[in-house]
Symmetry: D2
Subunit: 283 residues, 4 copies
C-alpha cells in the first residue's frame, strides 16, 4: 500500500523566532519512503538538521517575524497491516531489560510515575503481566477518559487526566504510559501520521496523532489508548519520554498557528503506479 | 589536592529486588582517579555496567532479599579550586546552541518549565542575560527557600518548591534549573560528592550533594542554588534532566535504607604522598 | 436608574436531577426591586427556598428528566453610580476585625491561601496596607492574566491562575481574593448581574458576572480584578468563600446547558415611567 | 464515666501576634462539663469569645512577643459508649436533606470533590448507599493510607492523600470526607479530644484528634477513617468543612510550638467520687 503523507502549517510570528521541528518521517521508516520527505519553509531560511537525544530527526529554524509556512508532501510504502503483535512476547524481568530501555520506566513531565504508582497497582495489579496488562490499561483509559478538543490543555499531566477524565490524543497516551511504567512495563510516547486507513472515516479533520509503545519480549510495539484498536497506516515521526520530546513543532517565543492541514491517505491503485516516476525524479 | 571519596550504604530488602545505581565517578573525571572506583556489593552479585541516556556510568544489580551493602573507597586528584567561571561566557542565542543542548530548555518531571515561565519572566526578565541572570536566580532561590531535611519529599517539583519555600538540596536546584530553562538558559541537574573542602565544616553528616549546570558560552558550568557560593571539591557522578535521572540508587520495589555514610575529604599532605603506591596497584 | 434584569437558562437532563440555584437578587438588594424577582421553572415543580450558610437566597428544585427551563424578568432601582469607595477606610488590624469576617482570611477550595502566601508577600508586601494594596493586587491580576472563554476550566484554582495566566471572570477574582487574604485583607467572592451600564458595550454576550469584595474600615466593598475599573450597575446575587458557594446553579448529576441568556440593561426614561404599572401589578 | 481533659500548649512568638483558637469543648457538649472549661492564657491577655460560621466556640487572642502558654483542665461526663450508630438510618435523597446540610456535599480547600468524583464513583459506586458505603470508604482509606507523623504536611489535600497514600489523622479524614461528598453523603470535619478510652494504650503521645461526621437518616454520626473502629470517649471541640475550619489554633504570623501536651483519660472510680467537690467549686 502507498500512503500519501503531507502537512501544511502556517504561523504568525510577532518577532524573529527559533523553532525546532520533528516534521520528518522517523529514521526507522526512511527506507519505505518513495518520495523525498522534505520540509519546505517559506520564507526561505536555513534548515539545520540534527538527531535529538531519542534518535529522532529534528530541524532547527530561525524564522523572521511575519508569516511562516512549513509544508511537505511525500509518499511511503506501508504493509497496510494493523499494528503488529506477538502474543507470546513476554513482559521481561527488570534484570533482563536492555539498559537503554530502563529510562522508560521512570517519571517524566507528563507521566508522573511517582504519583500514580499506588493507583496503578490497585487498578491493574491483579492482571497478568505482559499483553493482558497492557490491554487492560488501554481499555481502562479508553473507556474512562472522554475525548474533547475543546478541553485540550498543554500543561495537563497524567494525574490531571486521571482526575479530569477528559483530554485529547496525547492525554490518553500519557495516562496509559504512566500506568505501564508504574507496573514495570517500559513505555514511550510516539507521534506521527495516522490516517483513516481501512477504518470508517472519522469526522474530525486530519491531525498528527499520538500513540505509545511498550517494550515486551525484546522490542517496542505500538499501542493506542485513544482508539484502543489495532490500526493500519501509522507512520512514526518521533518517540520520546512524553509529549515534551515528541512535539511536532516547538516555538521558543510567541506564535499563532493560523493554518493546520495534515494528509495521510491511501493512494488508490492507479496513482500508486505513478510512483516510479517520482522515484526517478528523486534519484 | 587529593580527595578521599567513599560511601557505605545498606538496605533492607523484603524481597529480591533490582536496583540501578549511579555510584561511580562520572566518566569525565575518570582520568583524575588515583585509585579504582569500584562498587563493592555484599552479598556478592553480578554488577552489570552500562552508560545511560545521559552518558553516566550506571550499574544494575539483582539483589536477593535481606541486607544489601554497597560500598566503595577511592582517591581522586582535584585542582582544589572553586567552581570555574568565565565572566565573558555569554548566554548563547537559541540558534547558536549545540542541538544536543536544546533538550535542557524543556520541561522534565520536577522542572515544570511550562508552569513557571510567566513567573520566571516576571522575576528575572529584567536581569541581563547570562551570568547576571544565573546569579540572580541562584541568589533568589537561596534566599527565599529554607533548607529542611525534615520536609524532604520525593514528589516535590519546582512549582511546589516555589509555593512551599522549603526543601532539600535537590529542591533548590530544581527550582533554579526551571527558572534558567524558562529564560532560555540550558540547565541540567548534577549529583556527586561535595565535601567541606576549604569551607567551615558543616554540622550535617556528609551526604551526596546535588547541584546544577548551566550552558553559557559553549560549555557547562557548575552552579549551586543551595549554597550559592563557588565551592571547591565537587566530584561529579551523574547529570540529567532532573533528580529522576541522577538518583544515586533507584530501587524497583520496597527497600529501607538502614545505613548511609559518605566520605569526601581532603587528604593531608603525608597521606597524599602515599598515593603513587595505589596508582601502581591499579596499573 | 432602573435596570431590567432577567435570565433564561435551559438544561437537558438525562435523568431526574436535584438542582440548587442562587438565581435571586441578594437579600440586601430586595428593597430596590420594582418587580418581583420570581424564578419560573418549566416544567412546573416545587421550588423550595432557603438561606444558605452565607445568607444568600437559594432554591432547591427536583427536576424530571428532559428539558428544564429556568427564567425570570425583574426590574431594580439602582443609583447608577460606580462602585463605592471611601479612600479613608483603613485595613483593620486583625484584632479589630469583626469575628464573622475572620473566615474570609482563610483558604477555600479555589483560593489556596496556604500555597500563595509567600508569593503574595513578595509581590505586594511593599505596598501600603488598605486600598493601595487592594488596587495593586487588582491591577496586577488584571494585567498579568488573559481573559479566555475557550480556556475556562471548572477545577482551576488560584494557583493555577497564577501559573497559567489565563482564565474567565471567576479566575481573576479567585487570584485577587487569595492575594488579599494572604495579606490579611478579608475578601469574599461575589456573583450577580453586571450589564454594560455606562461603559462601551462589550462584544461578548451577556453573562452573569463574578467580582469580589474586600473588608476595609468596617464594611465590604465591591472590587473587580477582571475589569479593574469601578463600574455602575452591579446587582449582587450571592457571596461566599469562592465560586463553590456562589455558583448560580449547582446540578447534582449530569446536565447539559443548552441555552443561556442573561439580561441586565438600563431602562430608558420612557420605559421607566411605565414601571408603576408593574408595581401595581405586584401589589 | 468521667474523663479528665486538658491541654498545655506553648508558643514562641517573635512579634505580637493575633491567634484564634477552638480550644473549648463544643457547645453541644457543654451540658456534660463537670468543671469549667476555661482557657488560661499566659501572659494574661483579653480573651475574646465568639461563635464562628459553623457554631463552634472560638476565641481571639492578641499575644505579645515572647512565650505564650495556653492551658486548661476540665472534667466531662461521658456515657463511655462507643460511637453511636443506627444501622437503619438511610442515606437521604438530595431532595430530602435539610438545606443547611447541602454545603457539606461541596468542595472545600482540602476536600477537592470536583477532582475526585470520577474516582469515588469507580471505587465505591457499586456499594449500597448509606452505612455500607461509608464503611467501605473508611475501610478503604484506613487500609490504603499509612500513618506517618514524619510526613505531615499542612498543605496536603485529599487528592495528595490519594496519590501519596500517607498522612496524619486529618489526611485520613479529608480523603474519606471527600469520597462521601462525591457520592452525595454530606460529610464534615470534626476535631476534639480522643483518649485511649477502653482501647490498648497507643504508644504515641496524646494529641488532639480529627475525625469526621456523616449525615444519615436525619443526624450527624461520628466516623473515623484513621482508626476505622468505633471508639469511646470522643469529646467534640469543633466541626467545619475541613481542617481549615477546625484548626485548634490559627496564628496570623510566625510562631513556633515549643510544648504540646494533651490529656484525655478516664478518671478511675475513686477520683470520680471526688468530683462533687469540683462541681461545688464551680457552682
Amino acid at each position: 500500500m502507498l500512503i500519501r503523507l503531507g502537512y501544511d502549517l502556517r504561523f504568525d510570528l510577532p518577532a524573529p523566532t527559533v523553532m525546532t521541528t520533528l516534521l520528518h518521517v522517523h529514521p526507522s521508516r526512511c527506507g519505505d519512503l518513495r518520495e523525498p520527505d522534505f520540509l519546505h519553509v517559506e520564507p526561505r531560511v536555513d534548515v539545520e538538521f540534527f538527531h535529538d537525544l531519542f534518535g529522532n530527526l529534528a530541524t532547527r529554524l530561525r524564522l523572521p517575524a511575519g508569516t511562516a509556512r512549513l509544508h511537505s508532501r511525500t509518499l511511503i510504502e506501508d504493509p497496510g497491516t494493523v499494528d503488529a503483535r506477538d502474543p507470546l512476547a513476554p513482559q521481561l524481568d527488570l534484570a533482563a531489560l536492555p539498559p537503554a530501555v530502563l529510562r522508560y520506566l521512570m517519571p517524566s513531565r507528563y507521566c508522573e510515575v511517582d504519583l500514580l504508582s499506588a493507583i496503578a497497582l490497585e487498578l491493574f495489579g491483579g492482571t497478568k503481566p505482559g499483553w493482558e496488562r497492557v490491554d487492560a490499561i488501554c481499555t481502562w483509559v479508553h473507556t474512562r477518559v472522554a475525548f474533547s478538543y475543546a478541553k485540550a490543555r498543554a500543561t495537563r499531566g497524567a494525574l490531571d487526566v486521571f482526575t479530569e477524565r477528559v483530554g485529547v490524543c496525547r492525554d490518553f497516551q500519557h495516562l496509559a504510559i504512566t500506568f505501564c511504567r508504574c507496573l514495570n512495563i517500559p513505555a514511550r510516547y510516539a507521534a506521527g501520521y495516522l490516517g483513516d486507513i481501512r477504518v470508517p472515516v472519522a469526522p474530525d479533520p486530519m491531525d498528527f496523532s499520538a500513540w505509545f509503545e511498550v517494550y515486551l519480549g525484546g522490542r517496542w510495539w505500538a499501542c493506542d489508548a485513544r482508539h484502543n484498536t489495532r490500526r493500519a497506516g501509522r507512520v512514526l515521526m518521533a518517540t520520546g519520554l512524553d509529549a515534551t520530546d515528541a512535539a511536532i513543532t516547538t516555538t521558543f517565543g510567541a506564535s499563532t498557528l493560523t493554518h493546520f492541514e495534515v494528509i495521510s491517505e491511501e493512494v488508490p491503485g492507479d496513482a500508486s503506479r505513478a510512483v516510479p516516476t517520482h522515484r526517478a525524479a528523486t534519484a
